[in-house]
């Protein structure tokens, strides 16, 4: 394989990985901190997209749409956590309730989108400054894909700073380790849960808006990548933010080079990687043994 092919395929994989990471990171954050496996995460991706679409009908500005899409999805996320999910924390059979409730929200939010915006495909154009492509040597890379890679890296940097250098970040990490102890120390744990849920669903919304110029804006689009996101989270380790990054990079690149070398098996490869990880390190590549986790 020549170097140009390698670079082209690597960058394709990287751009796929960054969108996967943006989606999966919210999913894993909710699981790590709130202890909820949010099957409806894709619906927040969808909501973010449609909020952005609506705003862009009024202002025709991608950046306003990006902001409103992310914030709007986050607000809806917080409302749902506060009004519904909070009621089932700590119940016997909480897992089953979580599954039923979050699955119900997939159906509800999907239908809400359909009723408000209809079933026709919507278009969110790229901002004019990100149309076109760049040439790296003889490799062509769309400017927008480079933008997504950069946004992904910025989110990684911001998350690293927030989780390791700020008091709030440390509280969030502590709540993922032992909620009860944190509560006994005087922290308003329910508020932390709601805020984390809001931030994570806002990340879903952000991913939705970022992906929209490349994908199809349609009801149902939110559930399509939930399996891929789950694979990413399983590989990286449930609840592990950095695991989501590693998982997304592995899946993005395995898929990318798999398509080049063995296209017939490309979609199976991600599952093969997941199975290998589950055999070798069932808790995920970056997860530590869960000790003291509530």
């Amino acid at each position: 394989m020549d170097i140009n092919t390698f670079i082209a395929q690597f960058l394709s994989g990287l751009s796929t990985a960054m969108l996967l990471f943006l989606i999966s990171s919210g999913l894993t954050l909710i699981f790590g901190v709130v202890n909820v496996l949010n099957f409806a995460h894709g619906s927040f991706y969808l909501l973010g997209t449609y909020f952005a679409y609506q705003l862009m009908q009024l202002f025709d500005n991608f950046w306003v749409g990006l902001l409103v899409g992310a914030v709007g999805a986050g607000i809806v996320g917080m409302i749902i956590e506060f009004l519904f999910l909070r009621r089932i924390y700590g119940r016997a059979q909480e897992g089953a309730f979580q599954l039923l409730m979050t699955f119900a929200f997939i159906l509800i939010l999907d239908d809400v989108v359909k009723f408000i915006w209809g079933t026709e495909y919507k278009t969110i154009p790229k901002p004019a400054s990100l149309v076109g492509s760049l040439n790296i040597g003889s490799v062509t890379v769309p400017t927008y894909n480079i933008f997504i890679i950069i946004v992904g890296l910025l989110v990684v940097l911001f998350a690293w700073y927030f989780l390791t250098k700020t008091d709030t970040g440390k509280t969030v990490r502590a709540s993922s380790l032992d909620r009860i102890m944190l509560g006994l120390l005087g922290t308003n744990v329910p508020m932390i849960m709601t805020l984390v849920f809001g931030v994570a669903t806002a990340m879903g919304g952000l991913a939705g808006v970022l992906a929209a110029p490349l994908r199809t804006v349609t009801p149902g689009a939110g559930v399509e990548f939930i399996i891929d996101s789950m694979i990413v989270v399983v590989i990286g380790g449930f609840g592990n933010f950095w695991g989501a990054l590693l998982g997304a990079l592995i899946i993005g690149e395995v898929l990318s080079f798999g398509i080049l070398w063995m296209p017939e098996l490309a979609t199976v490869l991600t599952f093969i990687v997941m199975i290998i990880v589950l055999i070798v390190k069932p808790e995920g590549l970056l997860a530590k043994r869960a000790v003291g986790r509530k």
Binding site: T5, A8, T123, P125, T140, P142, R215, T216, A221, E224
Partner: protein
């Protein structure tokens, strides 16, 4: 006595109109469509077209003053669709099964139709199997199958695309995607076209990210890239491939569903010019009064232009009505089958001088295929490009092909 007679007249005068109303039968059609998720647009468009067709049919009248009515249920998946189809027959007393977007669901429901001897008119699913190796006498289809599209495509590649040899394919990894590629290659071989396959790519249905497929295709450098996707997958692929300059480096060829209006609308100004596409119905071709009236009626009813799924549903209702008119009732299924076999039915997509017909041996509607290239045209907003420069392929050159049916039966079984 006189009073009694007058009373009887009065009672009779009151009751006779009721009796007449009660005698006017409502003939129920049990339809299944995808109403949610990605395929929901097809279901919604079909629903609008069904209402338009019902208004036309009921206004024209049916034998005995009967009225046609259609019940629509979201089909969800094959198991669920089968249970609804059975309920339609046993509980709702539907005389016909109707609709269905997905070939997988169509294949499941055709078994119900066969078992219960109830006519099933498929209006959108295009898997060739249903009118070939999986043929059963109670199944009829009101839209073309993928073989008709791909055979027309083979003629187009032979006659209209010059100096190509290397060909690659990308299509969804299920029967619809696999069959199109098998059919196109069969058609090219049949026409004696020499070609070399340099890549075959099988993303899953609804794959959101084609970036790595695109760079792999660019590396394979085919002269012609054939795409077998439909709906939103087409939109996503084209949006993602455009900045790579893919459309300038190879001929892009997408003739079963690429030119469907929903994709043209979804892409808007992102649609590249000059790419080769087709669909099972075009809003801007043929420019006949029938097609214009149909498209205008749809727009008036829905506030948007129709995707091709709508025309199949519209034609399907008219097919059933015509069969009932010929037979005189909706109860003699065997006579209705005979009435449908060979039936000529004027469709919005029929060009001047041609009328679509049902092939009596396969029960497949036989229609001309028009393949075009994308040209700027904003008369059907939000689409900014429509198809133009059409090449038209005569219906009888495309179907039936018993040679292909034999081949398909050998490959896929009965």
């Amino acid at each position: 006595m006189k009073h009694k007679i007058i009373s009887l007249f009065i009672i009779a005068a009151i009751l006779i109109p009721f009796a007449a109303v009660q005698a006017a039968e409502t003939i129920k059609i049990g339809a299944l469509y995808t109403m949610t998720g990605r395929g929901g647009q097809y279901g919604k468009d079909s629903e609008v077209a069904i209402k338009i067709a019902l208004d036309e049919v009921n206004a024209k009248g049916l034998p005995g003053g009967a009225k046609l009515d259609v019940i629509i249920t979201d089909d969800k998946n094959p198991q669920y669709a089968v249970s609804v189809a059975k309920r339609y027959i046993t509980d709702e007393k539907c005389k016909f099964l109707f609709g269905i977007i997905s070939t997988a669901i169509g294949l499941a429901v055709t078994e119900v139709s066969k078992e219960h001897k109830v006519i099933f008119v498929g209006t959108d699913h295009a898997g060739t199997d249903l009118t070939a190796n999986k043929f059963q006498k109670y199944y009829f289809r009101s839209a073309n199958n993928t073989f008709q599209s791909m055979m027309a495509g083979a003629y187009y590649l032979k006659d209209e695309v010059k100096n190509w040899k290397k060909i690659a394919y990308i299509g969804p990894d299920y029967a619809y995607g696999r069959d199109q590629w098998m059919e196109l290659k069969w058609g090219l071989d049949k026409l004696g076209v020499k070609y070399e396959v340099v890549g075959e790519y099988w993303p899953k249905l609804y794959e959101p990210d084609y970036t790595s497929y695109i760079t792999a295709i660019m590396k394979a450098a085919p002269d012609v890239l054939v795409n077998g996707m439909w709906g939103g997958d087409t939109v996503a692929f084209i949006k993602q491939a455009k900045p790579y300059g893919l459309f300038g480096k190879m001929k892009y060829f997408h003739v079963d569903a690429g030119g469907n209006y929903e994709a043209l609308a979804g892409l808007g100004a992102d649609m590249p010019a000059g790419i080769i596409m087709s669909a099972r119905h075009h809003n801007n071709w043929p420019e006949t009064p029938a097609n214009k009236t149909y498209v205008d009626k749809f727009y008036k009813a829905a506030g948007r232009y129709p995707s091709y799924a709508a025309e199949g549903a519209y034609v399907g209702v008219h097919m059933i009505a015509e069969a009932i008119r010929k037979v005189g009732n909706a109860n003699d299924t065997e006579a209705l089958v005979k009435a449908l076999e060979g039936m000529k039915i004027q469709c919005p997509e029929d060009p001047q001088g041609f009328t679509s017909y049902i092939d009596p041996k396969t029960h497949q509607i036989v229609q001309v295929q028009a393949i075009g290239t994308t040209v700027k045209n904003d008369k059907f907003p939000p689409a900014k490009y429509m198809l133009g420069n059409f090449k038209v392929y005569p219906a009888d050159k495309l179907w039936p092909s018993f040679e292909y049916i034999d081949y398909m039966t050998k490959v896929k079984g009965k």
